[in-house]
Symmetry: C2
Subunit: 260 residues, 2 copies
């Protein structure tokens, strides 16, 4: 029997930070048919609030270190402020949302990122997605809304990359559903020329991806996103779409479809 | 057919603020048999963080006004920091917790408190408990953990008294369960002499309550709590227990039982 479709949609910080863009996106997300899951990043609000609280962002080689105080701010901002306001807005649009971290219903367990050259602090790499428990919410017609926080099953919360959470959720739920993973960001799709928003690659299979990667087409920010996507596709996710947030409602515009 | 038992347990700020006391309480809560729901206050952490962020608490006649900035802090601290750390700790104790505000699954709808002499700001009075949706979580063997935030179903979050949330949840769920409501606070129970922690009233029916109230036995902080309790009992809650946090595990000690 063909599996039912489920959409996993990830929005980034740029949408979160703009109340009008967020409102427009949430309306479109509410109108998206079928079962669905939302994953959101946190944007710069955590950084702003940390700095107001006198917590300095520690950066090593351009990457943020999540110390105990930073983790507290992330838990407040992503798990509280951002997540609960999105849930309240979705409820006003008749989407029966439920906000989650990976600790809730033990939905996403992770382990502390191993210390090699750098100790990233309270950063977790996803170990297990509990698709059975998450599906109990979906089967009850609730729409899960995940922030980028996981836990180690021993009481410790972890900061976790939102793109990774989206792809791991998509992989986990593909055991039960035909999952479409949608990455919304500030470009119209994967670009051949990073500065030309019209140079969207419409379709890209994994072979083409490898060739273009070795040619150096993709910039540093795009590469981990694409690695996440192909990892998801290889692990059972049906299709991945990448584009700006309106791709969930307007299929006439440009966006990128990735496949095996 | 006799209804199944369900416990609604409320803990206040004093437990939340003491990590060791909280850990002990959560262990006892995890061992509590049968279906259960936890409601927590936020304590003074929200006030501390607000003051660090330069947000002055506005007080009118000794009561806090929840302006937009204060609501943001409450959403961060109660809905994020406190709630998600409790959920993670309960998960480590094999209690399959799920953290909720009233916006999640539209579990608790409220309306803005009417402006009379004082405009309390973003404070909501409970309008409706969605016991059907909450019960979907309970039936799935999840343990709901509520913070003291509700919503107006139009996208607005509200600060709401945690004692009231506990009693309204108990009333709503008493349509489906034989509900025992447990208020944990820093005394051993309802006291005849406010300064004598051994003067616990063991049992108190509503008639005795009215007599003692008119005699002026109860101080200002206790009265709204007791009003909440008798309101719950009159509306179908089976029993109400009041005492220190260890009453959920140690029934040999002193505590107060309220009944009709």
């Amino acid at each position: 029997m063909a599996k039912e479709k489920l959409s996993v949609v990830k929005i980034g910080g740029n949408v979160i930070e703009n109340p009008e863009a967020l409102a427009t996106f949430l309306e479109q997300f509410s109108e998206l048919e079928g079962k669905k899951v939302l994953v959101h990043g946190g944007g710069k609000r955590a950084t702003h609030i940390a700095s107001k609280l006198g917590i300095e962002s520690q950066m090593v080689n351009g990457r943020r270190i999540t110390d105990a105080e930073t983790l507290e701010v992330i838990t407040m901002v992503y798990g509280g402020l951002v997540n609960k306001n999105i849930v309240a807005q979705l409820q006003s649009l008749d989407t029966d949302a439920i906000g989650l971290t990976g600790a809730d219903i033990n939905s996403i367990a992770s382990k502390k990122r191993p210390v090699k050259e750098i100790d990233y602090g309270f950063v977790g790499d996803v170990k297990k997605v509990n698709h059975i428990s998450i599906n109990k919410l979906i089967e009850a017609d609730f729409t899960p809304v995940f922030c980028a926080i996981t836990h180690d099953e021993n009481g410790q919360l972890f900061n976790t990359n939102a793109d990774t959470i989206a792809s791991e959720l998509a992989i986990g739920l593909s055991k039960l559903y035909r999952v479409e993973l949608v990455y919304c960001f500030d470009k119209n799709g994967v670009l051949m020329e990073v500065d030309d928003d019209n140079s969207v690659i419409d379709f890209m299979d994994s072979g083409t991806y490898e060739i273009l990667k070795h040619k150096g087409v993709f910039h540093d920010g795009m590469l981990p996103k694409l690695e996440n996507c192909y990892h998801a596709i290889e692990a059972g996710v049906s299709r991945v779409f990448i584009g700006n947030p309106s791709i969930i409602s307007n299929k006439n515009q440009k966006f990128t479809t990735l496949f095996l």
